[in-house]
């Protein structure tokens, strides 16, 4: 393999040898270390062979010694090819300029894309990137990726992280936006009201005036910490008979604090003792369809659901041709899952346990983060025959403080 490659670069000749002592010719050549390739007897008694360029001159000598005549038949390899290329100069120039053009073109940016922006406008991001030299048609080596990242971070305070990657002729600006806290922040003066009704366990007033005592029951939307500060100092008695003046409003503040209250959640769950339903058997058959406009063709799989009882899942895919050029074809994959009916005989006890578990699941879905479950009570309720009913009440300690703008409040 390597030898072939090497002889291609050196160049080799196809020769034809005539003479009476061809064996002698071969032996002499071999003993002198001139490698001959593809020796062939031809019908006319002549011999054809291939020899490397560097061995040809000494082969002349061999031919003279063995009394045979040599003729060059054909030439192969790079040196000869190069000489023909010299004649076809424009072709070579064309090939080179083509390759060079491709190389040069691939050092430019042809595509700028933004990923991961949700609230920040893509156009604004692109505008800032453009100022840093990332635009369609800019030269790759001139782009300072880190610099662009920094300037993007500086320009948009809502961004947590920016990554600019130049991959080939494509620049991708990847953006992570800051996740803002979920609590609705009310601007301006506000009260703190109860989000749920419960019994106050601990009240921590940071700003404002506490309106309830610990141990008190509050209803939903009741003001717990007021943002209106009044002057409670008793006014100087000028006249005994005078009506007490309403306390003077000093200022409106933004009330802040934590209100930890005991909230109870009640769940009534009814369960049949006998459990009936369907479970998948695991047998699945797929059907693939192609949708073109309003025509559908089934490529593979059954025509319709092959199972007597079954469910189907449909997923669609739109193949994209290249980047963002789509083709108006949808590939629809339908999975048919076989279902089988089952009956589970349960005792009332098992049904109760299952119901309780369900209730617990339902409650835990309602709880805010940071809540602590204090107590759980399960009360079986009277139920129609063949069913069980259970009431689960869960007592939870949680923060029920919610700001509410004073103007909005009553």
């Amino acid at each position: 393999m390597l030898r072939r490659w090497w002889s291609y670069w050196i160049g080799f000749l196809g020769i034809r040898i005539e003479g009476s002592q061809l064996e002698k010719f071969i032996n002499l050549a071999a003993s002198r270390g001139i490698p001959l390739y593809d020796l062939r007897r031809e019908a006319s008694g002549r011999l054809s062979a291939k020899v490397r360029m560097d061995g040809f001159r000494s082969l002349r000598h061999v031919a003279r010694k063995s009394g045979s005549r040599m003729r060059i038949q054909s030439r192969y390899g790079w040196p000869f090819y190069a000489s023909t290329l010299k004649r076809k100069r424009s072709l070579v120039i064309g090939v080179f300029s083509f390759v060079l053009t491709i190389l040069i073109m691939s050092t430019f940016v042809w595509d700028v894309d933004v990923i991961g922006n949700d609230r920040v406008e893509k156009q604004q991001l692109l505008q800032v990137a453009r100022e840093k030299g990332i635009r369609v048609g800019s030269w790759r080596p001139l782009i300072d990726v880190r610099e662009a990242e920094h300037s993007l971070m500086g320009a948009f305070p809502g961004l947590e992280w920016v990554g600019v990657t130049a991959k080939g002729t494509r620049v991708v600006i990847e953006v992570q936006e800051k996740v803002l806290p979920k609590k609705p922040v009310v601007n301006g003066p506000c009260h703190i009201v109860a989000a749920k009704s419960g019994v106050i366990q601990r009240l921590m007033v940071l700003v404002g005036e506490g309106k309830v005592a610990e141990g008190e029951r509050v209803a939903k939307d009741q003001v717990v910490i007021s943002g209106l500060l009044y002057d409670h100092k008793p006014a100087a008695h000028t006249q005994a008979e005078e009506k007490p003046t309403p306390p003077k409003l000093l200022e409106k503040v933004q009330a802040r604090g934590e209100v930890w209250a005991k909230v109870s959640y009640d769940q009534w769950i009814e369960e049949p003792v006998l459990l009936e339903g369907t479970v998948p058997t695991g047998a699945v058959s797929e059907q693939w369809r192609i949708k073109w406009g309003n025509q559908e063709i089934i490529i593979k799989g059954p025509r319709n659901n092959p199972y007597p009882t079954g469910s189907e899942e449909v997923s669609m895919r739109t193949p994209s041709l290249w980047r963002n050029l789509g083709i108006p074809v949808e590939i629809i994959k339908t999975e048919y899952h076989e279902l089988r009916a089952f009956r589970q005989e349960r005792t009332a006890q098992e049904a109760l346990a299952a119901a309780q578990e369900k209730a617990r699941q339902a409650v835990s879905g309602l709880l805010p983060p940071g809540a602590r479950v204090l107590r759980e009570m399960v009360l079986p309720q009277p139920a129609p025959p063949e069913r069980v009913k259970v009431k689960v009440s869960v007592e939870v300690l949680e923060d029920i403080a919610v700001p509410q703008s004073i103007e909005a409040g009553p």
């Binding site: 061809l22 064996e23 071969i26 050549a29 270390g33 062939r40």
Partner: protein
């Protein structure tokens, strides 16, 4: 002459004793064939006769005759040669 024979006997004995491949010590040719389409012969002594259905090659202690059809000497180097074509027979002769 007697010396030569004694030397050969000694070499043979040595080769058997040391369990060495015979082509290393004894100058024998080493032939490897791939099916009947390629034959590589190392350690040859030159070509005696060459045509496209019969090639005779000198080897240590005689000749090797390759009979076949469309035989081509793919490569010939001072030490080895490669024959391709449809090989039918290999004959050794003194």
């Amino acid at each position: 002459m007697a010396w030569e024979r004694g030397k050969q006997r000694l070499q043979k004995a040595l080769a058997g004793f040391l369990e060495m491949p015979k082509d290393v010590l004894l100058d024998y040719p080493k032939i490897s064939m791939i099916g009947n389409v390629q034959l590589v012969l190392e350690n040859h002594r030159g070509i005696v006769e060459y045509s496209d259905d019969r090639i005779r090659i000198g080897i240590t202690g005689g000749q090797l005759e390759i009979v076949g059809e469309q035989l081509v000497l793919r490569t010939i180097l001072p030490e080895e040669l490669v024959v391709e074509g449809r090989i039918r027979q290999l004959n050794y002769s003194k």
